[in-house]
């Protein structure tokens, strides 16, 4: 199907967030004009290349409850409405050129909710991430009796903004089947599964091999014989299994002198569902409990730009993703795309992308000795596990590469716009 250029209004709390890569690809490869409305900006090094060249980024402010550093959990939706209103105010000031399509991602903050007040005609497509279960998935699986009741009530109430987004959307999509399955049964049939893909141009294995030879990583030189074990997450938090990675690293360092463990991610956790670590340096607290760790061989690089992350993944002999049940992280797919051997927790979302022993290894992450044992086997004989990495790479090329995924999304967007125009 022809994919004519569209002018898309993208709305997400942060840029580039999740939609930025999508907007960038469509701007560069399909001639889209993209106006991206957001509240916060990541550092410029994280911005995609089309910013200023077809992709215009506009920030909006927020007022009311959204300005407070913390509000009671019952006011979550109110905060979201402040984002939605802030976005609308700037839209009405700027009055962007005629819009063909509105694409939003609330991330719990309802930013696109009022955009149709400014532009009622274009269809709305919403990317949905995660519908909370009161006592399951993410960290709730391990919540102890000390967990306050109000935390569970908060989780029970968190779906409100997604339900409004779903009702408003002409197209709602999740990146994976598992994510769709979290939503109430009444909505599942109307949610499409459309992966937005990873940048397989940036995240790819070097043909001359980044592994097994002397290389420089984040400004440090590694000997060819050094084994690199990687962990990448937006935050170095329990949700994504940083605690497990740390214990594994301790075990690996003890067992092998040639191992360097590298963690990428912001040590300060800004994930609301992590009650115990929210706004705290979880990694620092955890490290203080692991005095045995050789810090010369445990590198924490902090939050890195995509280019640095790609460099690290290219050098990785083993990529570890031992997170709890939560949407598959983009970094896992990027690691697969980079030709890493993957050792991941055996949780449902991971099973959707990893077929254990074919394109990675799934392991019971609670079984520390099993995790360590698998990791040591992989590091002891990388060649034996290289076929898994090849399969993972191939899977990404076929199913998760941006060049494969985004045209499908573009096709859906085109259909949506044509259907709306046909109705007029």
């Amino acid at each position: 199907m022809a994919q004519d250029p569209l002018h898309v209004l993208w709305i997400e709390p942060g840029f580039p967030g999740r939609l930025g890569g999508l907007a960038d690809w469509l701007t560069r490869k399909r001639g889209y004009r993209s106006t991206f409305y957001c509240h916060t900006l990541s550092p410029r090094s994280h911005w995609p290349t089309s910013v200023g060249q077809g992709l215009e980024v506009v920030t909006f402010g927020v007022g009311g409850a959204a300005r407070d550093p913390a509000v009671a959990w019952t006011r979550t939706l109110e905060r979201g409405l402040c984002y939605a209103y802030g976005c609308l105010e700037v839209l009405e000031q700027n009055r962007p050129r005629p819009i063909d399509l509105i694409v939003g991602r609330s991330a719990g903050l309802g930013s696109s909710l009022f955009a149709p007040v400014y532009a009622a005609a274009p269809p709305v497509a919403n990317l949905l991430d995660y519908y909370y279960a009161p006592r399951a998935n993410d960290l709730a699986d391990e919540a102890g009796p000390e967990t306050p009741l109000s935390y569970t009530l908060w989780r029970r109430s968190m779906g409100a903004i997604d339900l409004l987004d779903l009702e408003q959307a002409d197209l709602a999509w999740t990146p994976t089947d598992w994510q769709r399955g979290l939503y109430p049964a009444e909505y599942q049939a109307s949610i499409e599964v459309l992966c937005d893909g990873v940048d397989d141009g940036l995240f790819r294995r070097l043909l001359d091999g980044g592994r097994g030879r002397s290389r420089t990583l984040a400004g440090r030189t590694l000997a060819g014989s050094t084994r690199v074990v990687t962990f990448v997450s937006r935050f170095l938090d329990r949700l994504r299994g940083f605690d497990r990675f740390l214990r594994l690293a301790a075990g690996l360092q003890q067992a092998r002198q040639d191992v360097v463990c590298v963690a990428i991610g912001d040590p300060v956790v800004r994930r609301g569902l992590d009650v115990s670590s929210f706004n705290q340096n979880y990694a620092a607290g955890l490290l203080s409990l692991h005095a045995e760790l050789d810090r010369d061989r445990f590198w924490m690089l902090g939050a890195c730009d995509p280019a640095t992350t790609a460099e690290v993944l290219r050098a990785s002999d083993l990529h570890v993703a031992l997170g709890r049940s939560y949407p598959v992280s983009r970094s896992l797919l990027e690691a697969m795309s980079s030709g890493c051997v993957i050792l991941a927790s055996d949780v449902e979302p991971h099973r959707e992308v990893i077929d254990s022993a074919r394109n990675g290894i799934l392991v019971n992450a609670a079984d520390e000795s099993a995790v360590l044992s698998f990791a040591l086997r992989i590091l002891a004989d990388p060649a034996a596990f290289a076929p898994l990495a090849r399969e993972a790479e191939e899977d990404v090329r076929e199913r998760y590469a941006r060049s494969v995924c985004v045209p499908r999304l573009a096709e859906r967007f085109s259909k949506l716009v044509l259907a709306r125009e046909g109705r007029r």
Binding site: W73, L77, G108, F114, V117, Y132, E186
Partner: protein, 442 residues
């Protein structure tokens, strides 16, 4: 069977139902409510025979009327918390069924933390984004929340719908206001009108101490609140024209000055919509009797005197007062909107004209007042319809069966039957990750 009814007010939709279920089926009916209602008020029998507890409200609790629209959902969650706390604190036996209603969503979404039993929500209405209910009166000045609130007002309703086991609406139109994806969960059962109370018959020709001479025509208008969504302003315009055309008419207006829906207070900047309307033109107020809120027994008497009952609602939940007027055998002239059309077949059991067409409304009203006898058959057929399909006698048995069927999911009767509506009778025949959001206990 033990049923726990939850509502903002008592008796509202559930009081009479519960009384009938207790008397007819021997069920234990308990209530958690925020307040006893002043419209209608609880009867002594209800207070005596039903167990009613008030939900303890936190010191900082705000009445829902005073909550700014962006905070409405948070207010709902506070209400849900209060209901959960009250349920936990009660020493009542575990209910077999919870039936709940809330002005803006049943406050049930936390109850699973305390009770494992089926939950039914009363699906009163799902607000439209535009061209309906609170957004229908585009003829009036715009209010600031108008573009926004309709996009968020349904959040609580959606949460409760997702969580509940089943729901019911009073009319097909109300059911159809909900998203199609939820319709399989919702059945249609009207609440039931007391046709022994609301019935045709002689009445003393005196209202609020004012005698009504024989031959004087009585035009009635009733609404819980005298507000734009119920067309109070249009009624006054029609009444004014009728008053100018005929000297023998008095107008009896029932309803309080509170605003229950929409933004009349915002766009009028007046203490009440009634006051704003009355200031906009000169009326012969000697011809009007404003009674405020009155008891059902008083309303029944007044309706018996009515030669014409005007019901000029925007498309919104049908008022009991219209059905009560029909039960009383009144000739009802109503706005021609879908919820009205569900009961009124114009020319057969009532009359309907476009809401904004004051000329036609006046013309039709004057025709009725000119020759009431000619239109009396409409009132008789309206009464017959209510008796047959909308009376307590007609409505309570199937509604009771529905409650029993849903409760049966945990009483061993299986869930399949509960999922399949068995009573459709009057009702459905014509039915064609929040990474950036934080939990804070503060």
């Amino acid at each position: 069977m033990n049923i726990l009814f939850i509502h903002d007010a008592f008796p509202a939709q559930f009081g009479r139902l519960a009384l009938e279920l207790k008397r007819g089926r021997g069920w234990n009916c308990r209530f958690l409510v925020q307040a006893l209602s002043s419209c209608p008020t609880p009867t002594p029998e209800m207070l005596e025979e039903l167990e009613i507890r008030l939900v303890p409200l936190a010191a900082e609790h705000r009445n829902s009327d005073g909550v700014p629209w962006p905070q409405v959902h948070g207010h709902y969650l506070e209400q849900c918390q209060a209901v959960l706390g009250a349920v936990k604190a009660s020493a009542w036996p575990r209910p077999d069924l919870i039936v709940a209603h809330g002005g803006r969503g049943a406050p049930t979404i936390f109850l699973r933390e305390a009770i494992d039993c089926p939950i039914i929500v009363y699906c009163e209405y799902y607000f439209a984004l535009r061209r309906g209910d609170i957004s229908y009166r585009i003829d009036l000045p715009a209010a600031e929340p108008a573009p926004f609130f309709p996009r968020t007002i349904n959040a609580a309703t959606l949460c409760a719908l997702v969580d509940c086991d089943a729901g019911y609406s009073a009319t097909r139109w109300q059911k159809q206001s909900f998203p199609a994806r939820f319709q399989h969960k919702i059945e249609t059962y009207f609440d039931g009108i007391d046709v022994q109370l609301y019935k045709p018959g002689p009445a003393p020709r005196s209202i609020a101490g004012r005698s009504i001479p024989p031959g004087t025509r009585v035009v009635t208008f009733a609404s819980r609140g005298l507000e734009s969504i119920r067309g109070f302003d249009i009624f006054m315009e029609v009444a004014d024209r009728i008053a100018r055309a005929r000297q023998d008419v008095i107008f009896v207006v029932v309803g309080g000055e509170e605003i229950h829906y929409g933004w009349d207070k915002l766009h009028t900047q007046a203490p009440s919509f009634k006051e704003w309307v009355l200031k906009r033109r000169t009326y012969d107020l000697d011809r009007f009797l404003f009674l405020g809120r009155i008891l059902p027994e008083e309303l029944a008497t007044i309706l018996r005197l009515s030669d014409l009952h005007l019901y000029l609602t925007a498309p919104f939940v049908l008022s009991w007062s219209m059905v009560s007027a029909m039960a009383t055998g009144c000739v009802v002239l109503a706005s021609d909107v879908a919820p009205v059309r569900e009961l009124i077949d114009p020319g057969i059991n009532g009359l309907a004209e476009p809401l904004f067409d004051v000329d036609r409304l006046c013309e039709q009203a004057l025709a009725v007042l000119d020759d009431p006898g000619a239109y009396a058959p409409l009132g008789r057929r309206a009464r017959a319809l209510v008796e047959e399909r909308y009376s307590l006698e007609a409505c309570i048995p199937p509604l009771g069966d529905f409650l029993e069927r849903v409760a049966g999911r945990t009483l061993g009767q299986g869930s399949q039957s509960a999922n399949q509506p068995q009573h459709e009778e009057q009702n459905d025949r014509a039915d064609g990750g929040g990474d950036d959001c934080a939990y804070h206990s503060a």
